[in-house]
Symmetry: C2
Subunit: 152 residues, 2 copies
DNA sequence: CAATGTATGTCAGAATTCTGACATGAGTCA
DNA sequence: TGACTCATGTCAGAATTCTGACATACATTG
């Protein structure tokens, strides 16, 4: 069989390369977060709450790209361990706004530094222009992928 | 708190955008593969075997970005269902080269077409130049991330 | 107002993936 | 040859994430 007939061709597929890059990023993040006793999802949740206090469980799930059920499991653990608080009753509707405790904020500080270093390493060797190219291109991909979900 | 102090800033983070794009791709792939009764990992394994017949379990795992234990679970299922064959004894060492059966090849055909359409959709609106930019940039990210794993 | 649609939080169980561990085979090197 | 290192296949159990389901609350619409 030749190199490629109708197939996707892993060597030249941007989709495969995207997955590869994402996997490398995840591995690198896990590596620096492990010494802090924190998983990537764990970190994502805390970082989201730091930047957008009061996010609900469902909103956190969307932000971390997991289901709201998975995020709920995580949130309950974080709440139990005192990193996050949620009011006992919803101020409006059923939505429970979550917030970091001071302990949660403290725990996040080191993680943020660690993850930031990974991102810096990832961008090493890229020019400013390449970085803005990457930004624009990735956004284009996301937009195109989500376009055809139901509309067309 | 202001928009950003020492944090990563989700709105402008290339790392976050990378994860977002990868997630969108995965969702889109799941969407077109579900009607075929196939998961993304399932498809990845078959596609890898189609393009590189004789890959071992460990090699497949690396190619699909999962552990060799996870791939082994999948491979055993694929073998049981007749999509893949492995010799009972290793021709050399412990490595068992896996190959698609004709059933596996048939099953993969439709999936490849479906996944190809997703990739085409993802690249819609991007020029040739942007696609080669994306290729080069993603490879740079992967290289930079893997560099610092142990060496430096 | 009533009905419908959409979104949320949460429980339960299944499926997937992972970490840890072990034995085996190949390659390296003294 | 023998000791050592490394990679592989695989088993077992834990952790994570998912799918399905339900009740509830808000928004829209007739």
């Amino acid at each position: 069989m030749s190199q490629n007939g109708v197939g996707v061709d892993l060597e030249t597929s941007l989709g495969y390369l995207l997955k590869e890059a994402s996997s490398a990023l995840r591995v690198a993040m896990e590596e620096v977060l492990r010494p802090l006793g924190m998983s990537v999802t764990h970190y994502s949740c805390l970082e989201l709450l730091a930047q957008r206090p009061g996010l609900s469980n469902s909103e956190l799930a969307r932000g971390a790209f997991v289901t709201r059920q998975s995020m709920n499991v995580l949130l309950q653990a974080l709440e139990r361990d005192g990193y996050v608080t949620r009011p006992a009753e919803a101020p409006v509707g059923k939505v429970l706004p979550a917030r970091l405790t001071s302990r949660g904020r403290r725990s996040l500080e080191k993680a943020t530094v660690a993850v930031r270093s990974v991102e810096v390493r990832m961008l090493a060797g890229m020019t400013e222009a390449e970085q803005s190219d990457a930004f624009r291109i990735l956004q284009s991909m996301i937009h195109s992928l989500r376009d055809g979900d139901d509309g067309a």
